[in-house]
Symmetry: D2
Subunit: 281 residues, 4 copies
């Protein structure tokens, strides 16, 4: 399935500032970037670099004097998702069998304090028979118990806050999902994306859980079809893969994000607890 994605960010820079942006579609064996462009207006030199486990793609630019500028990314991307048939009651992968590269996704992180939510996670989700069922129950629980409310949280909000305050945006839903999964010893990573049919359009965040040898996608917001995502980055949480990290004094003036499909036969895919069919990117 091919998607056309784009994002435009406009900033007013008040003092010399450095930007690190993470808005490029990720290139992976299962996601091909067919074409892309990045335009900065007025023209400013931009450095692209990769970092982190999945070689997330960042750009870095330095603004030395006050200016208002716009940075526009667009791409045509073809992610190939795989439908995984799961067997009921499949246990989480034993810690002893997890690859070293996966183990760190069990650790608590800035916005996903799994160490503080052990008892909650166990009492609510131990009863589900397998790893997939547990994570599905976690996303359902978040969906039912946390209100999606724009503006209710900020960049300092973490899973520990959300579990009490019960409101947030996609970032908060993802962090809470991650924290609860890790508390059950299921490795989980943050996933940022362009999302088809997301309304209102914005950057999206959800998460992947490591089950049966695959990183399966989960989205507690249920705001976009699971097969409508174009991956930007993976990280332990939003601290690793913020859309924009800004060092300086800057106002964000405007942000527009979009994701459309280029084909007609898009069939939205959501999880169904009865079929045990999961999706991997």
């Amino acid at each position: 399935m091919k998607f056309k994605v784009h994002s435009t960010l406009e900033y007013q820079v008040l003092q010399p500032s450095t930007f690190i942006l993470n808005i490029h579609a990720l290139r992976t064996p299962t996601q091909t970037v067919l074409e892309e462009s990045l335009v900065v207006d007025p023209e400013i030199r931009v450095e692209e670099f990769s970092s982190g486990p999945g070689a997330n793609r960042f750009v870095r630019l330095e603004i030395t004097e006050p200016v208002t500028f716009k940075i526009a990314y667009q791409a045509t991307v073809e992610p190939v998702t795989q439908v995984i048939d799961l067997t009921p009651g499949m246990e989480p992968t034993p810690i002893m069998q997890l690859d070293a590269s996966v183990l760190s996704y069990l650790n608590p992180s800035r916005y996903a304090q799994s160490d503080k939510l052990q008892r909650l996670a166990s009492s609510k989700f131990d009863k589900y028979p397998g790893a997939f069922e547990k994570v599905l129950a976690i996303t359902d629980w978040i969906y039912e118990n946390v209100e999606y409310l724009s503006g209710s949280t900020n960049s300092q909000t973490s899973a520990y806050d959300t579990v009490s305050e019960r409101a947030g945006v996609c970032r908060d839903f993802a962090h809470l999902g991650i924290a609860l999964c890790r508390a059950l010893s299921i490795p989980t990573r943050y996933f940022t994306a362009y999302a088809f049919k997301l309304n209102p359009p914005d950057f999206h965040a959800c998460f992947e859980a490591y089950i049966g040898g695959n990183w399966l996608i989960f989205d507690a917001t249920k705001l976009a079809p699971l097969n409508g995502l174009v991956k930007i980055a993976n990280g332990r949480d939003a601290a690793d893969v913020a859309v924009a990290s800004i060092f300086g004094n800057v106002n964000c003036q405007n942000m527009r994000v979009g994701c459309e499909t280029l084909e007609e036969n898009f069939e939205p895919f959501y999880y169904n607890p009865n079929t045990l069919k999961a999706l991997a990117y």
Copy 2:
């Protein structure tokens, strides 16, 4: 029903220190203290005073040099409880009709941050038809979702912590109950007591909610019969009515607490959601 209550506290004082203790049974129109005594060994002058809305009874003593001392209280107390027949679906008293002295029990307090738990409280308990049903559902929810675990919390633990960490002792159960009720605009106050059949024996804490013109007793720990309490104090939370407030450098060496009934026909009373019979002290 008459109860014999006693408590003995033993402290090692390392430096000059002042103690404020709140261990006397409260005298109220419905609770008679038939006899009582307070013994300090070695003899130290103790000042008794009353303070706060219900005239809670405190003692204050000053130790000017290092010593180990023991303070022992015992009393025979006769609380008279009243069984209140409620009608189903009775609304919380409208704010406009609450007496000024009751209104302050709607405010958030140190250990009961009702302002931070509004959304949680509404989403879980708005659906219950009346005030009594709501508070009963709150105590059941706490009982089912928070583990009673000695030593899991400390004097700084608050309802906001407990709602995430899901473990605590009677004090934490009471604070969470108070916070959730206030978040629903039901006035609620902290209630400390000697409790019959509490095991292991200790000072107990639960709470009263103001419903239909009465302060009804609730206990989310379900560790003692609701009619087996000898009230020590009411307050907004444990900050008002700590068993011991100590200014100085002191080790608590030992604490023994007990409560026995003097009659044979004690019939334990617990709430039953079907009968709508409540208890007021």
Copy 3:
């Protein structure tokens, strides 16, 4: 010194709502309300009542259907302040000598978690010789270390947040001052006021510390002269004496507050660490 004070609050009520407002000038032996009026437009029945230790004056009104209304208070008030000459190095009043009505102002409260700031308070302020010097050092420390920044905090922000985040408004400055004083066993209470020369005009909050038998006024914001205050209320913290407590669904549309002196010879009074002259209301 006579002051003319006024405040106008305008609300859009979306659903049936109840308001409790605390905007009346307090009547005390040292503060005379010479004349006052309260006008609600459109006309809505308002109930005035007093509550709390200092008999704070509240009004309560209930709006049963959607409406936009305005409530305007104005008064001429004559507070008489007393200048207290202190002796250097005067100790805090021993706990044993504090009146029962004062003791509760040593307890931690919702927004002033003195129990969590003991070590900070001791390490920074134990070294100052007397109670007044300590509290003055606390206000100076807050003034120098916390940035006054409108909009940086909200109604859930507490002293524990402010000590780390280092920004806030008058309410936050007061809460931090209160928490640090109580951590040093100096009784302290929240003080809301109309403030002369406050810029921009708004309701003001500062605090009183109990020293040498008097409640002395302190203001860590240094935004208004200490003798330019018209007291509205005392409380343990903002939980007791919020300007507006609203139960319902309401937008605040507008708020105007003012305080002018009616005399010409106003001489602003601020503390001077060398003179040890303090002010009591």
Copy 4:
């Protein structure tokens, strides 16, 4: 300089459990492990693996039935430290020039919430002329303002707590140092070690800051000479490189740690603000 290091951990396993331990001395171009051994008693199969940016060395073992076991590591290690002469007032490396592998050490992490301490860090440390001076001032500030107090914190304690509560152990001192440095845009990483002359003997934690192209070592506890460390691991904070991560039900029965030098001419090295000589491992 050669060191002999050893650690022995003894656990009582109550239920099937998996351990991940991080107690091996790290092998780096500047740290040679001359010999080492790991003994588990009773014999249990142990798997060694490397993970993370510096290839930290972990062992993993699975215990399938209740047992008490002991794991003992010992090694002879030769770290070569480099003394770096700094020029006064050297700026932090501009963000634009930081290698991608270093950038992630600017992000907030589980125990080092640099995003919440920006204002505090700026107000206290912006005034120091260069990056080294700033970090040195941070370590001095922590040393002076935080009390080293065994048992005052636990595995959930973070820099945000410590900045208010002002007590902790080496782990907490390191986390606070890391958070404050990152808040000033100085990359910083957690550093665990065997430490010569540490008293009482234990695993040690301090941190490295990236200044002038080198990772310089800093220790806010001042409990061990800076040149007396044998590096175990680097990570973003303790979440990455816990000495022991345990999945299961286990009691730690005993822990012994030691570090001795094998040479006689050990000259302890500490920083001196006047000489601007720093140390890199």
